[in-house]
């Protein structure tokens, strides 16, 4: 549905040319929730602004359906934008308008007949769970409620695509989850394609089907969320996953280096299980079958859209050959094994 081919965006600044987006190729299917994750400055905000023509690529093309967004201008572009919703980190609501009037704004812009506007807006306010607050002003709402207004507003013209620019970054964890649940519900109900820009792996894990990891303007890793969680290739991806599965990774690092110091002969393994095998007694099997000692350092289980992912740090002591067998057995049981050499 969306195709980016060789998209590059450069900005001329006083310090010289800045390449914000560097030769990105992406394709996003209809109905997908696609996450683009990266640290600030990775170019993800610039990238998502090319999806609705707020930014034009310096090179390459962005196409949506059968029109090339990056080539549209003037009226054609404005009409296309009406079918692309967008929500923002800071909500960007009009303080001068009530909730209802904010939702009416895109309908007024699209010149929807007056008698349809009100029904449509009220239906959307119901959809996002803000009945009764129609006449409140944004200043009277909480962050989560403001983002709900943002979502209702973005859906007003029945878009085929919803862009979320750090939509949950200004919200607390509880509210973030509520907003993510709402997005997921909308995705299922309207079969709406959603593109999510974020710096939190939690957001990707919770609702995305696919993910692209961005670093310095490039997409360095891409794939199904479950696969990326199971087999992260890039260092930055591993860091993002660790930030999510193990929020106190600093502590784990400390524990790991302590274990390294105490048992130089052992091996440290990071095991990743998914869905099926997380229910099997994998560890007791290997302990029973091999003469080893096993010490669990840290573990967690996370839910993704495609199933659960378990993450376990263990220390294995025993003979080198035996440990090799253990690793092989674990791999046979479909467990991802990473030998941690140093922290």
């Amino acid at each position: 549905m969306i195709n980016l081919s060789n998209v590059t965006k450069r900005f001329d600044t006083k310090q010289g040319t800045l390449t914000a987006v560097d030769n990105v190729n992406l394709s996003i299917d209809k109905g997908e929730i696609y996450g683009i994750i990266g640290y600030s400055g990775a170019g993800k905000s610039t990238l998502v602004r090319m999806f609705n023509g707020l930014e034009k690529p310096t090179e390459g093309d962005v196409s949506l359906g059968n029109s090339i967004i990056s080539k549209l201008t003037g009226k054609d572009l404005r009409q296309k934008r009406q079918k692309i919703g967008m929500i923002f980190q800071h909500f960007n609501l009009l303080w001068s308008r009530t909730v209802l009037e904010n939702v009416l704004l895109p309908l007024e812009i699209a010149k929807v007949p007056k008698y349809e506007q009100l029904d449509k807006a009220q239906e959307l306010i119901r959809l996002v769970g803000l009945e009764g607050r129609e006449n409140a002003y944004p200043a009277q709402l909480s962050g989560g409620q403001k983002q709900r207004v943002g979502i209702a507003r973005a859906l007003a013209n029945e878009p085929t695509l919803l862009l979320c620019d750090e939509a949950t970054s200004a919200l607390d964890p509880q509210t973030t989850d509520e907003v993510l649940d709402l997005l997921l519900e909308i995705n299922k109900r309207l079969n709406l394609t959603i593109v999510i820009i974020t710096h939190e792996m939690h957001v990707v894990r919770k609702i995305c089907n696919k993910v692209a990891v961005m670093e310095n303007g490039k997409v360095v890793e891409e794939g199904n969320v479950l696969d990326v969680f199971k087999r992260p290739q890039q260092e930055i991806t591993k860091r993002f996953i660790r930030q999510d599965t193990d929020p106190e990774s600093e502590d784990t690092d400390l524990v790991l280096s302590q274990v390294f110091a105490d048992y130089p002969e052992g091996k440290l393994l990071h095991l990743t299980f998914n869905g099926e095998n997380s229910k099997q007694p994998v560890l007791s099997k290997v302990i029973r079958n091999h003469p080893i000692e096993l010490n669990v350092i840290q573990g967690s289980i996370q839910q993704t859209q495609a199933g659960s992912i378990g993450s376990l740090y263990v220390q294995v002591t025993g003979e080198q050959v035996v440990i090799k067998d253990v690793i092989r057995d674990l791999k046979d049981m479909n467990v991802e094994v990473e030998v941690i050499e140093h922290v």
Binding site: L77, Q82, I84, F88, N92, P106, A139
Partner: protein, 234 residues
Amino acid sequence: MFKTLLIGESLLAQYFDFTEVNWERISNATQETLLMTIGSVIAVFILGLVIGLLLYETNGKKSLAVTILHGIVSILVNVFRSIPFIILIVLLIPFTQKIVGTMIGPVAALPALIISSAPFYGRLVEAGFREIDKGVIEAAEAMGANKWQIIYKILIPESMPSIIAGITTTAISLVGYTAMAGVIGAGGLGNLAYLEGFQRSQPTVTLVATIIVLVMVFVIQGIGDRVVDRVDKR
């Protein structure tokens, strides 16, 4: 002690000799001042919005022509804002005679009043537009709004408190300007205070004129504050 009190008393008496006051003239002068103030405020409001929009929309654009336009408007605004009002009236005499046909009466004061205040108010409006969160404008663009829709659906409503507060300040300074315009023949309370109060030494007339001007200023400020309060939902 007794002497100063006596002087004080006779001084006070000068200010309260209401036999000097011709209330009909006061009423006429008040109407003239109101006419000048209201007429110029309306014109300044419209012109100032246009100037403010022009300054805002032409700022920081890539096109050379637009940048030159911005430069020209900006220089004109700064020049007319800087000329002292009393000099501007004199400077505009030929222009006023050309378009109004006379130099006498309240209508003749309007060109100078408008030309002196519209640029000032334009700057206030521009500052109001600049205060608007860029994200809100981006959101409107993302909805497919055109330039005109952004102006009347976003820029103007979202800067309404600044627009109202700005016209209040401008209106108050315009009341002051009408008094100055009065001195050179535009009529109104300034004219009355000068001709009757000063030249015929009737301080009571000056005092009455002063009080009426003060009441006008307070009323304008009061209305302005109320309206700002009403429209500001932040």
